[in-house]
Symmetry: D2
């Protein structure tokens, strides 16, 4: 029941990490949007493990197939079904986890909720589930392009305590993709690589922050009062695995300013209303104001580590978990594509909602 996202532009994802595959239905996509398989594949490639020496060595090709909703290179307005078969599933590697609850994973909570779980991998809680989101986000991006929106640019702005020193509004996708960390600050990126390699060596893991900017968003998007733009964005990001925090505009830091310091003065520029500062992060009263949307998402260090850990099994016996197998010490570089996808999905959905509500 919780596998659908969006109101008008809607995705439904499905699939466990170890089953027939994973996929998504994109419903509500307007007709006659140009869409190629490669539009989707390029984003899946940014998401997949094994794309650089930094990420998990799991070698998944993640080849997408589009099964419906497309005709002669254009969307039909009907559901777009996208499928990625599971290739590299190795259930045997999980045999020792059949009865054990890995700390800070979802093993215990899935068991508590459903009374059953597919222990051959992370099931629905696996990062593999995000394939459907990223594919859906790629379709959303095509719609946004058609509607004249600007780019959505995410990047790694912090790994553990290493902070990037860049101005969010100036970061380009090219700069981001030039670094395997997806941190556009080359110097910080070097230090991040070192820190990540060290964590891998120690069987440890690291978290951090992804910053994301949506350029060229027209004013008027967002549905007061519960489906405010920032509320939908917050939900979308907190629904990503390992995300523990969200900020828009000035966020937590902004609470240390006074109102006089914090308010964004309006001025007029080229017959448009602009703000001189953007502590609002492009959203006021839940509705976009035409300024860039700026947000940050916190990702905790990955729960999978290769150090022994104390835990319990299904019989509630204390056991020591000796982690085996693959280990991705830092999901941040891959998380960028996930964050961008969620932002694209929210913006596309709100853009369609806004079209419906316009005064006739």
């Amino acid at each position: 029941m919780g596998s659908s996202f969006g109101h008008l532009f809607r995705i439904h994802t499905w699939g466990e990490s170890h089953g027939g595959g994973v996929g998504v239905i994109v419903d509500g996509c307007p007709p006659r949007i140009p869409l190629e398989l490669s539009d989707i594949q390029v984003e899946l490639d940014r998401r997949r493990p094994g794309q650089s020496r930094l990420t998990s060595p799991r070698n998944e090709e993640d080849r997408a197939e589009i099964l419906s909703g497309l005709f002669e290179g254009l969307t039909l307005g009907t559901p777009i079904s996208i499928l990625v078969h599971n290739k590299d599933a190795r259930p045997a590697a999980y045999e020792h986890l059949r009865d054990v609850y890995r700390p800070s994973h979802a093993d215990y909570t899935y068991e508590a909720k459903y009374g059953i779980r597919n222990w051959q991998g992370g099931g629905r809680a696996s990062a593999r589930e995000t394939i459907g989101r990223v594919a859906g986000g790629a379709v959303a991006r095509q719609v946004l392009r058609r509607l004249g929106f600007g780019e959505i640019v995410g990047y790694v702005s912090r790994v553990q305590t290493i902070e990037a020193g860049c101005e969010p509004l100036e970061v380009t996708r090219e700069q981001v993709e030039a670094q395997i960390t997806r941190c556009p600050d080359a110097e910080a990126s070097e230090r991040m690589i070192e820190r990540i390699e060290q964590a891998r060596h120690e069987g440890n893991s690291l978290g951090g922050v992804v910053t994301c900017v949506a350029h060229g968003v027209p004013p008027g998007l967002g549905e007061p009062v519960f489906d405010k733009l920032e509320a939908e964005l917050a939900k979308s990001l907190l629904s990503l695995p390992a995300c523990k925090g969200f900020e828009i505009g000035s966020g937590f830091a902004g609470t240390e300013l006074t109102g006089i310091e914090h308010n964004d003065p309006f001025y007029a520029e080229d017959s448009r209303v602009r703000t001189r500062s953007n502590r609002s992060g492009g959203v006021q009263g839940g509705i976009s104001n035409g300024e860039p949307i700026v947000l940050r998402a916190a990702f905790k260090p990955t729960a999978t580590i290769r150090q022994p850990q104390q835990t319990v099994n299904r019989e509630l016996e204390a056991v020591t978990l000796e982690a085996q197998g693959r280990h991705d010490p830092c999901v941040l570089p891959r998380a960028v594509s996930m964050v961008e996808a969620m932002v694209a999905l929210v913006l596309c959905d709100q853009a369609l909602r806004q079209r419906a509500q316009t005064a006739p």
Copy 2:
């Protein structure tokens, strides 16, 4: 279209700050829940302006009426309609704002979205809109009590740079209500009062952080993958006026730890699975794990200040806005009831969803 919240336990709010009134329909409330008008009024009283010398002097009585859904002290299972008439509306006080966009308010964005707005007050963007949420949250609390959940305790943990020094899990509602700041740390509370009084004197405003703990939440709540418990909580809080950030468990600070430091080891206690630390904040993989749910919401300084500000009017002319009238220098003490209400609404909704999905 965005005025509904929840899936099974659902509220629909309505009302502008200057119209006939504000209210809420609570739909999906199970039948035979004991409910008194006073259960609702007590929460509205915690929300309303003018309850202490700290808050806005607007003197609204906010008397709730229950118009349906109740019979002989019990809910009927049918929609509960709750109405609060507007009493203290003073449209004349807003006459000078008819054409002016107040900085960091929603005047401009509502105009951009709808092409029309009720300029006699904040309209739907007014904090007055939260009356419906708080009333709905009060009903949710009654359901949660009946379902055996523990208390939801929110408190002001920071005003601007003044941080409370309390252990979230130990804070009680009594301690919170004992301070007009709703900061249970008496010493910090004193300093907050001073700072707020100074801001009022200067015509300035302050933001801060509300921390909230939900005790006694059973494991199994939350719907992967998009309606994860933390995702629904994040959405609910970011939908509150002035909220700019959300954290659950270790939040942004947790990203500075390594996986070894961050993971919560499991152990068994009284035939229950417990975690020794709670950096997860009571949620793993989007599902509650039985530990207390701990979250934090950032509120920016209120946009209404009494200093002159640069802005534009509807004709895009630069104008100086001389604020007049009432001014609430810090919404934090009142925001506690709003945060608690949203948390109650999310938990109640997820509890009902979980009942539907249980294995037969």
Copy 3:
């Protein structure tokens, strides 16, 4: 949970027949639609009992108040809350029904579902609940007018076995309102009046059929595959009290034709695609084709009669129910406004959905 209707143009109704009142929130109404209280009141007056000697003598004034969503005669794009206070409630008249299940009423099923019911009247199952629908439908009509749709004309086409002899496409609202039966065939109307008066005299009741035509519906409305236009219409009408059947176009009678006889040949007229016959009823493949939408709804005879009936009470004892009090022998004349309201709500909702989905 079931008190909401529509996807983008949405109504939420509330209220029992014997409580504080009944009402509706209209959410998703586009901004800047002209709306007067009288637009709503005129439809409520067509719905209310006591408007002619034919209908129930219950003397309800049903004065609507608009509490929000309107400003200077225009909709704001925010929720429109409409309230009608209960005036003529006479709980004492129901005292003898406290423990008895009236045959073919909802007393037993509400008790079975909720374990509680407001026995002081029909509760939510009362026809009084339709006030909110009719008010919402009146708002929808204003939107449809603004969007250039034609009129929605419903009429009583049959009372028990007395069939009207009129051509659905030619019936006008004026003809309908000229007869207290709302059957535009004056001769049939006379016989219906006689039959209804006789039923009243005998303490009996009658059912019949309402036919409804929506003129000037543009092609392209309806969302395959589950939210087809005819599916939404069917749902909307079957949700009315006492409705037991629905037909669109040729309906049940059409099943007796062969495909050669039944297909509607296309032709071109004034650069428009038209069909020579309209057995499709204006809908093909779930989408409007530009021809008038023609449907029929069956209403069973009202369950309230004044003859003694065998039934059981809550203790499952056999009892004889001696009906007392007011009695409306035929709801058909009043049902016309309800049918039209539901059709307006569906069309308005689908029109907004279609705007969202159009190719950019």
Copy 4:
């Protein structure tokens, strides 16, 4: 946006008749329900063309694959993705239809709505789309079995003017499956076969009526006021291709009775409330009353015929359509599985909703 059905037990279907395939995601299925591929395949086999000499010779195997949501023979509580590849697609056979609007098909309306359509077959309007529904219905049936519901038995009660003479409550699935017409009245079935063969010979087509009974439905299902059980059933059936009418209980015929004749007297039997007649069709006030649910759906004669027809093409030129290729003279025998599937989906959804709403 219209490809989802249900609220808690939800299906999302996708796929055109001529693309990669068709399929469904079943979301909201409770965990630990026993489910085998064969439970699904058996229903798809009842739906598919070519199963008897009566149905379309299109030879589709329709082999289902379950890609997710199942583990060791039990549902996981996560989305169940079911896929059927398209095998027998022959786009060349549709080449002559590229620009022509077939009468009473959805060619024109899809073009009007989306401005594009997959002319290589019926696209989403094809009966092939119902594969996803039937697969989803098969999962719903497993849940209903687990919840203790009785059987859902549909049958062909009329083909054109040939009416079956059977008592709906006594019809068994075995009797239905014993006839290739799925009309359990063997004598009527013989005449139907003759009539259908004649229609095939003439290139003509026939419609008719499917009657369906849901046995063993507990009281309390259905959500007033808009999601009444009969409203959801009506929507579900009118969403099937070619369905033009719906009746529950006494339906249109019941409108000819008076209230005295129509009301269903209550009595007590084995500590249960029963009704002596069942003109209500098992539903009162939108809620099941424990009696069998009895409904009827009208299906118009199939639009595909092999006689020349007048129509227009995309340029609005008058053309004569010479139908070619395959032709299914009567969809009724196959429609039985579709009707049953929709009824199962509605009941399962309402059963889960009812669990959520029960008094704690």
